[in-house]
Assembly symmetry: D2
């Protein structure tokens, strides 16, 4: 498969629409990111890298971080994790409190904000600093020593995190948050503010492509069965309230973030990451979603 040619074909086809949509504005520091950027990378299991556009530019990975925080928590907690967070699509906007109320403080899945707060709380109970645990984990799986967060973005997000604070306090009222709310929010915002490039992230999902084994150092991150299960969760819950539509159009397990990044995996073959900051109403990158749809159309490959 000539992935480089495919990426270039996608890049050319998308040029007219790059920048369409809206950059996330609720985090002031992110509102200033120029929308006319686009990068995409494919990393094969042998380490070969294909890329186009701004694939080496670091961006705010935001909710893409939830995939790695969950992996780390799942690795340590195993299936007992699922007593505190569900595995079902949310069927509601990603910051809704309604479902949390109806379901006794158990978030529907670990990829909505409420669920990621619980995951952060779990990591905060196991590690000195939850955000460092996740960034160190990202360093190992992406084979980059220097994964870190942008302190200004973290602080900007922390200052506008009233809704996340509401959810955290609400879950605490149900006993589903064990650490101090302020500490969990600090760690959560810092984790969201981690910055990486498309190439880094396409490499970072290598262990998911490779049945749980980190291809860059041969360490087992998860067993094969758990890896498949995580991929299933990405498919059903990874792209906010548009997961059904995304599965329908793209057909790959994926996780998106409001920074405009989306990572996806083609099991056994390659990790993929696309980034373009302007978003659809669903919170997913507009050009990024189209790019992944083209990827499966042009290559004829999907999990279905």
């Amino acid at each position: 498969m000539d992935y480089q040619a495919t990426l270039e074909r996608i890049h050319n086809a998308l040029k007219p629409v790059i920048g369409q949509g809206k950059v996330a504005s609720y985090i002031p520091e992110l509102a200033n990111v120029p929308p006319e950027q686009f990068g995409m990378a494919v990393v094969e299991l042998d380490g070969t890298v294909h890329s186009v556009g701004d694939a080496q530019v670091r961006f705010s990975i935001q909710s893409v971080s939830k995939l790695f925080a969950l992996t780390l928590a799942f690795q340590r907690e195993g299936d007992s994790l699922w007593a505190r967070v569900g595995r079902e699509p949310s069927g509601n906007p990603f910051n809704s409190l309604v479902q949390l109320e109806r379901e006794s403080g158990i978030p529907r899945n670990p990829f909505i904000n409420a669920g990621a707060l619980v995951i952060t709380d779990i990591l905060a109970s196991r590690f000195t600093a939850a955000e460092t645990a996740t960034s160190s984990f990202l360093s190992r799986v992406s084979a980059r020593p220097d994964v870190t967060y942008n302190a200004r973005v973290a602080q900007s997000e922390r200052q506008t995190s009233s809704r996340n604070a509401a959810m955290a306090h609400f879950m605490k009222s149900f006993g589903n948050l064990h650490n101090r709310v302020g500490d969990v929010l600090d760690a959560y915002c810092r984790t969201c503010a981690i910055e990486m490039s498309c190439v880094d992230l396409a490499r970072a999902v290598g262990f998911l492509v490779n049945r749980g084994v980190n291809p860059w150092n041969n360490e087992t991150v998860l067993d094969a069965s758990s890896t498949k299960r995580l991929s299933a969760l990405m498919l059903t819950c990874g792209t906010y309230d548009a997961a059904g539509d995304f599965a329908f159009r793209v057909g790959l397990p994926a996780k998106s973030g409001v920074g405009g990044g989306i990572v996806a995996i083609l099991p056994g073959e390659c990790g993929i990451c696309v980034w373009s900051p302007a978003l659809e109403e669903t919170g997913n990158s507009y050009a990024g979603s189209l790019a992944l749809e083209m990827f499966t159309t042009f290559t004829g490959k999907s999990i279905f």
Copy 2:
């Protein structure tokens, strides 16, 4: 792959739990089905049939019929279909009116009751009788001339269909139902009352396994891309409010019914059907769900 041995291993492993759970009781005629039944069949693309237990017993396919009614409507309407029904998991019990109210009478997906009523309405506008259109379609894809519905079950269901009537009238108030409510409910209940065996149904999904081409007569039912999309929809929405959990545990596109049947597909390889009438709280067959989980564990095969 020795599917016959796998089926026998599953059957043996499950014997202690067959009958656990509760037979659907809201349709009086179904409440009398003895729970201690279990059948499972695998049909490969070359036509080879593997089966265990009660795999030749006809049962009420109920919501499994929604998969075939949708296929037929999608074949005729194409993507214009999605203006009247969504593609997102419901995130709510399968007969909920709440979401319908919030979303202006557009059901979340074609596999919840409300969505299937819209599909039935679409077929009722195109065919003399929607239920006959679906049963004829099932005859063609399962290579059985005699697919038909059980009139007693249909009538029993029709007499207890107040909730479906409520949803139908409600959608009509939004303009999303074009035929007479009574007619649509008649056709809907008859379609649910179609009776088939595991072997029949494992054969009937052959076109989904075979990229849209009916393997038994080489007719194209859907193009390859539409077929994949339908499979994605099965994965995210096919098993009521447990789709996320089902994808996590089983990892195959599937559609279940309250009669206790579940069909699943392993793309490019085989169609699978399992039946056991006793249900989990989610409305899916208890032994059937376990059987499919074992199938992917024992064979090491899933779409992930």
Copy 3:
């Protein structure tokens, strides 16, 4: 108290705004009512009538009928009535299904549509025709022999009653509707289509003003305690989702209808009815609500 002068003062003050708002459009026959009409009447307990404007014009009383249907059902059933319908404000638009779902098919109160359908069902079980029972009752309490409904309006409403049909079927699914849904809807629509004038309706609430005794024939309709309770229900639930605001601004027990009529009572003194077809967003008459607010301001009388 010079009620005639008060009515004239109100009429003059309101002239600039009569016709502002929107005539109910969901019932085609009602959409054609000219909005620039206004009538108001006060009937004292000694039978003295004061009126201004179109106080003798008959209009479609719509939900004002719910007050009298409830009285009749309460008279016959007594407190056992409250097992089938609540006494709490709805806190939701008047045709919502959400609350009905959450509360097992028990409507919040008898003045929302769902509750009035239950009341109609109760009357349908006790009388040959529920609509005739209510119109006969209205004849007795208003001392007018000829209270009847407009058949064209009833039919128009029946043909656009999908939401009410949805609610009726939904309540039937919970066992809270005993007669045939179609029959209940017929009777309900006919009851809503009863036509009366302001003078008629201000006289019809005489028994509520007079501690339960019909002042025009000295018959006891309800005992004094039940009468007070009904008045309390009017205050907390009588004006759709604006009951709190209405109590705050007006301070009188009242019942409104989308035909633009509102009846109110000043216990021990008089019955009041105002009519003007153009509505606020809440479904209450715009000029009518202002007129009643002025009435309590100008007279200095309210129940508080």
Copy 4:
């Protein structure tokens, strides 16, 4: 009217049921209050006091304080207050987040917790300490110099206020809370922890009985029209989600608290306060609600 005899008759009638129900347990300090206590007081406009039982025992007034905090805020802000809080019954349990989400952070009324947090925020913007402003106001209207809060109860409540914290942060996300969340919660919990007796509270509502004028010092607290409006709000929203039922059974404007206190007013005649710590499921005092129902039955007086 011989109020003393009426109180004694009520007290005797209720003796068998005093202590039935459940003392509020979510605030640890309150959980230890012995349930078998009952006091009731009536204060006439000329200052005459009637009382029975534990009418001089100070108890935690809890949400009864919301009535006085609102009065103070309304006195200072006037009708601009209603841009930040509604006037409609909630139709939901008193700590629900659902409605807040649907209605953009505007609480339905000032007597649910969310609404009282907004009122506290308003007072915090106008006074050095919101809790002191309210307790000073209570001193003036009850003619007791020493109204103050119980610090242990306030702290106990503050430590278990995760749900209130969730609501406060949530409203802040909509811009409807201006001060620091922690400061507002501190003031809110202290205000709830104010301790007064039945006699004190029956005297404190004197200005509401007396058309807005404090009968003990002749100061005007509110104008007559605003006073009536506040009474209307008590009737429709003062007793949590049971306001409709309470109006139906009792027929007096009232405000209750989970400490077991309820104040009520008979306009132009007297203030009433009853206290008994064991609660109904609705959060209102069980014996207290019955006592007020008996009061209107025995005296034949209500606002209806």
